[in-house]
């Protein structure tokens, strides 16, 4: 911070130091005192002002800070004699940035650079400002100026990166690349290059223009020696050759790579791709958009080679692989063996496959690596090549091979697990009978128990042997539940995993399965507890939250939901704020390739679909939380700028590009994405789990949800307004239309909302009135139920001020809409509570629908009513007299309040009943679901576990495992399920009670009007 001559910003350093010390130790008051004193001494020092502003900002006094900053800026601009150094400007910059005024910082630097055009330090500051603003063109111009000034390589590369960014992330045309190339060429001719990263940028510029030959020439020239890691250089070389279409040379290079790194799988794929002249590896490399490509596909094109050529190339590949196999003298290099299988697969694709050879290669691989935990996932893609019959045949062969005895017990266990996993993989499970499935669950559990002693001496931090078995047992039990609808299996699945976690509490795989099981059962609070135990933070929130977030969004656990959303949004927003500074760091450290990477990554996160959803859901949650008090709700709406931005978002969503960064690979089989849960539908046999990419489906879903939901804040606001003017105006000017702007805007939104539901405005009205009048079935709303009821609620409040529907059909349909809303709410809500009997036990989504009905449409309607009541109460001097029209609307209002009182009272009672069912009774029904009658049905797995627990052998199992086993109690788990569900009910109950109270008091108020 100190500059030359002991001066800081033109002030003796000893005077400034105490201020910085105070700031660093967060003694802001003290710092401010010093700064004020300093200012008294140096009233015209922009630096002293900047320091004061910095302190004020840290103290949370944003307005004061800004005004001090502005005076400093004013000084800089007007007073020619003041010092304009980077220290002053960068201090100001910090404050401006924190105040969200990047533009002001930039203009300070621009001004300074204009005044001192040859000051490199200031120019770097200016460059940094442009980096923060993502102004790539200005970055480029500034960098070029610096380059001209001092001729340093790094500034040239800053300029080149800025050009690349224009092309990749901005709207710069490809022609710009030619400019960058020219700049580099000229520089290289006179100065050469000195940084490996500079070379990489040079090559990428050429590569982007498809000038592969030029790039290769440079790489093999003197500059090539900048790349110190030989394989890295070879990889680039191979890639360039392949992209240039020189497959033979490229294959030779990849062969070299394989000789250096025989385990390099990617290298082998490239090698084979080049031999077979398949270029799918090379196109679209840069725009590799999906973070999580479906794991079942290795991209490749069917080779165009003539048969003879194909054969000879394949035999080249086999020969190389053979050699690599012979050279690998240890047992960890898998690639050459795995490569054999890939070769067989390619033959298959070329129509020259031989299933038996493929199986042979697989068996060979199994023979060596069958005990490894990754075996099954390694071979998954290859199994897909085989027909179902062949798969079964292969399974038989596999079983036979594994019979040869393995002496190391952990390896033997590994192999047995592999066999079971492969069985699950090839879909055999779906062909088994219920009895056979049960048998296999039992077998796996026994295997687990039998092998526990192997783990006796392991450190608790380490994975135990056979841990995966319990996940597999869970998978089988869930399938049994799906087939039979016998809840006992489902509870048993929970038991198994809880048991596993009792033995070792770190197994995250169990936790993920469990949280989905608990969610499905409606014990969301327990699911959330397990989610928390995964310690999902920072970037994992982007990729892992999907396990819990969708369920939480429709749950009554608002506090937890709010934390989830806020933590996530904070993480993302923090990243967006600091990302540019890190980009600048990459510039400074001359890691140019990272510059591009960082900017692209930020864009990717900015387009995250989950981020968008969270940004819409967080305010909606706030709105839901405040519906019982209209003043609070209005304050919330004000903080949301009355929902205007969200309407814009809804308009734009159709054309926004979205990214999907969630890692879905870790989800359980029965719910491969949050949109899908097979358990909700009937058992469908083998075709259960289509592996196709669900991105399209998810994308459509996100767009739909965001488009609808982001209209809500505005519609709520307008509805409150509309309702509040209606009665009041009525009283004064009989029948007149109140604020026409409000009702016309609301109408536009309603029309859009109807359109999103697939109908014209008037058709939609017909539908809601048809359903409420009993002319249409309750089912017509389908999965859009909540949206339809919202529509009815907002329609009503719109009509209150517009009266259009009265005029439209001549008769008095205005009050009718009140009735429509009342009856719809009543029908759906009461139907839910009468149809949902023993909810403690049943896995159910019904509760969540009920929660939504009460906390969304009903709550919005409650706001409309609060608004009506507030405005109809005599306020101040104006004496009002109700005319005839108002009597009818008043009576509608009264009826509606009464109806809401009734509904909320009934729901409250119902929820209370659910909670009050005695714990014993609930436990009893849970536990009896697993009671084993005879030798079939659920409970068999649990029996094995209980048998193990009751006969613990301390010496076999070691202290730690024995202790853990002793603490196991399946009754505790059952109790946890019951309590978990009750927690969810209790949260909902609180909500219902508060609504009931509110409506009661409204009833009293309205009685006095």
């Amino acid at each position: 911070m100190a500059s030359k001559f002991g001066l800081a910003g033109g002030i003796p350093e000893r005077r400034v130091r105490p201020i910085w010390d105070a700031i660093d130790s967060r003694q802001f008051k003290n710092a401010l005192k010093h700064a004020t004193a300093l200012l008294a001494k140096f009233p015209n020092s922009p630096y002293a002002l900047a320091l004061k502003a910095l302190i004020l900002e840290r103290m949370g006094k944003a307005d004061e800070a800004l005004s001090v900053c502005l005076s400093a800026k004013e000084l800089l601009y007007t007073n020619d004699s003041v010092l304009m150094d980077d220290l002053t400007l960068s201090t100001l910059q910090i404050v401006f940035q924190r105040l969200d005024h990047l533009d002001l910082a930039t203009s300070c630097y621009e001004y300074a650079c204009g005044k001192f055009p040859s000051n490199l330090e200031l120019m770097m500051g200016l460059f940094n400002c442009y980096v923060r603003e993502y102004s790539f063109v200005k970055q480029q111009q500034t960098a070029i100026k610096m380059y001209k000034l001092v001729g340093e390589e790094r500034f040239l590369l800053w300029a080149v990166c800025s050009i690349q960014l224009q092309v990749l992330c901005g709207n710069g045309g490809e022609k710009l690349l030619l400019l960058a190339e020219g700049l580099l060429k000229k520089h290289v001719a006179t100065h050469s290059l000195h940084e490996p990263e500079a070379l990489m940028v040079y090559i990428s510029i050429l590569e982007q223009q498809a000038k592969y030959g030029d790039a290769l020439e440079i790489l093999s020239g003197k500059l090539g020696s900048l790349l110190m890691i030989e394989v890295d250089k070879l990889r680039i070389q191979g890639r360039l050759l392949a992209r240039a279409g020189d497959y033979v040379a490229a294959a030779n290079i990849f062969q070299k790579i394989l000789e250096l790194c025989p385990d390099d799988w990617d290298g082998f794929l490239h090698y084979l791709g080049c031999l077979l002249e398949d270029d799918s590896n090379w196109c679209n490399r840069a725009v590799n958009d999906t973070a999580h490509p479906p794991k079942s596909i290795i991209d490749c094109k069917i080779s165009d080679l003539a048969d003879e050529m194909f054969d000879s190339r394949i035999s080249d590949a086999s020969a190389l692989v053979q050699r690599l196999q012979e050279d690998s003298n240890n047992n960890v290099i898998r690639c050459p063996f795995y490569a054999n299988i890939e070769i067989e697969r390619r033959k298959h694709l070329h129509g020259k496959g031989d299933d038996y050879k493929l199986m042979e290669a697989l068996l060979q691989y199994f023979d060596r690596f069958g005990h490894l935990a990754s075996f099954a996932s390694d071979v998954e893609v290859f199994l897909d090549v085989l027909t179902p019959e062949k798969k079964t045949e292969f399974m038989e062969k596999l079983k036979k091979t594994s019979n040869c005895l393995l002496t190391v017990p952990t390896k033997a266990l590994g192999q047995s697990i592999t066999l079971l996993k492969v069985q699950q993989l090839i879909g055999n499970m779906f062909k088994l009978s219920v009895g056979e499935l049960e048998g296999s669950a039992v077998q796996m559990t026994e295997l687990y128990c039998k092998n526990l002693p192997l783990s006796k001496d392991l450190d608790p931090q380490e994975n135990m042997h056979g841990e995966e078995l319990l996940s597999m047992v869970c998978n089988v039990l869930v399938q049994l539940f799906w087939r039979t609808r016998n809840l006992g299996y489902f509870i048993e699945a929970i038991m198994v995993l809880e048991f596993g976690l009792t033995i070792r509490r770190f197994v995250w795989q169990y936790k993920i399965l469990l949280l989905h099981l608990y969610s499905h059962l409606g014990a969301l609070s327990v699911a959330h507890e397990w989610f928390k135990s995964l310690d999902v933070k920072n970037i994992l929130m982007e990729t892992v939250s999907h396990h819990i977030l969708p369920q939480m969004l429709v749950s009554p656990l608002w506090v937890d939901l709010n934390n989830l959303l806020q933590d996530y949004l904070k993480f993302m927003d923090d990243h967006f704020r600091e990302s540019a500074d890190l980009t600048f760091l990459a510039y400074r450290h001359r890691n140019y390739s990272k510059v591009i990477e960082f900017v692209q990554f930020k864009e990717r996160l900015q387009h995250s679909n989950q981020y968008l959803v969270a940004r819409v859901e967080a305010p909606i949650l706030k709105l839901k939380q405040n519906t019982d008090n209209i003043e609070d709700e209005e304050a919330t709406l004000e903080s949301l700028k009355y929902g205007i931005h969200f309407v814009e978002l809804s308009n734009e969503i159709g054309s926004k590009s979205l990214t999907f960064n969630e890692d879905l690979n870790l989800r359980p089989w029965w719910t491969p994405s949050s949109e899908r849960n097979y358990l909700l539908g009937p058992f469908e046999g083998v075709s259960y789990c289509p592996k196709e990419n669900t991105i399209k489906e998810r994308e459509a879903n996100v767009r739909r949800v965001v488009e609808r939901k982001s209209l809500l804040p505005r519609m709520i606001y307008l509805s409150i307004q509309s309702a509040s003017t209606s009665l009041k105006e009525n009283l004064e000017v009989n029948g007149s239309i109140s604020d026409p702007k409000i009702s016309s805007e609301l109408k536009i939104l309603l029309e859009r909302y109807a359109k999103m539901l697939g109908f014209s405005f008037f058709d939609a009205i017909d539908i809601v009135s048809g359903v409420s009048g009993g002319l249409k079935s309750l089912e017509v709303f389908g999965s859009d139920l909540i949206d339809w009821l919202n529509f009815a609620v907002f329609l009503n409040s719109w009509n209150m001020s517009s009266h259009e529907l009265v005029q439209a059909d001549g008769d008095r349909s205005y009050p009718k809409i009140w009735h429509i809303v009342d009856s719809l709410l009543e029908k759906y809500i009461l139907e839910k509570i009468s149809s949902t009997e023993s909810t403690i036990l049943s896995p159910t989504v019904d509760l969540l629908v009920l929660v939504q009905l009460v906390t969304e449409p009903l709550a919005w309607h409650g706001l409309v009513i609060q608004s009506c009541v507030r405005s109809s109460l005599p306020s101040g001097k104006k004496k009002k007299k109700a005319g005839p029209a108002d009597l009818s609307s008043l009576s509608c209002l009264r009826e509606s309040v009464q109806s809401l009182c009734n509904i909320t009272e009934k729901v409250t009672k119902w929820v209370r009943n659910q909670i009050n069912r005695s714990e014993d009774e609930n436990l009893e029904s849970l536990l009896s679901s697993m009671q084993n009658k005879g030798r079939e049905g659920p409970g068999q797995v649990l029996l094995i576990i209980e048998a193990l627990v009751s006969s613990i052998n301390d010496t076999d199992l070691g202290d730690r495992i024995s202790q853990a086993l002793k603490s196991w109690s399946h009754v505790d788990v059952a109790r946890k399920i019951v309590t978990g569900k009750c927690t969810v009910f209790a949260e909902f109950l609180r909500n219902c009670e508060s609504k009931f109270k509110m409506f009661q008091s409204l009833k009293q108020q309205i009685a006095q009007v």
Partner: protein, 174 residues
């Protein structure tokens, strides 16, 4: 069956199955990005078939004079790929870069005193406990500072163990 390459930002979106491990810390973004921006050659990822992430190593090079050294900030391998010499490979890579490219004197790392598996591994890879750092991990658990000398430290001076434990504020680098 591993391709080892430089770690890039997109890998952050794919490393969940590695980072859900309770001993693997998920740092904030600026931490990862600072490493990427400053020491990209010390941050490598291992990918298996189907582009699955198997594990990664993250580190840096720093220090003055004879304490110019490579540092392992994190090394981790997904459960299903453990005990296949992957961590060893990643460690060797970092040591190689410290040794040959940056000409460092030694490589060091901190490990939780309770993380026995990792300590065993480091010992197997030739690291020795140089000193104990009291309450290094969030003021609770002790850390072990382990070191391995590189070729430039001919006399292996850098790894002579200290007699007494130190506190975190006595550390030269964090």
């Amino acid at each position: 069956m591993t391709t080892i390459r430089r770690f890039c930002c997109d890998d952050l979106l794919r490393f969940a199955s590695v980072n859900l491990d309770h001993l693997t810390e998920t740092f904030n973004m600026s931490f990862y990005m600072t490493y990427l921006a400053r020491w990209p050659d010390y941050f490598h990822v291992a990918e298996g078939p189907g582009n699955r992430i198997m594990g990664y190593i993250m580190g840096k090079v720093e220090g003055q004079g004879e304490s110019w050294h490579g540092h392992v900030t994190a090394v981790t391998v997904a459960p299903e790929y453990r005990r296949q010499q992957l961590a060893k490979k990643l460690m060797n890579l970092l040591e190689d870069i410290s040794d040959k490219i940056d000409k460092a004197y030694f490589v060091d790392l901190f490990v939780r005193a309770s993380n026995t598996p990792a300590i065993k591994m480091y010992e197997k890879l030739g690291y020795v406990i140089y000193r104990r750092v009291l309450r290094y991990y969030s003021g609770e658990e002790d850390g072990l500072d382990m070191r391995k000398a590189l070729s430039r430290d001919v006399e292996k001076k850098s790894i002579i163990p200290l007699k007494r434990p130190v506190t975190p504020d006595e550390l030269e680098y964090d």
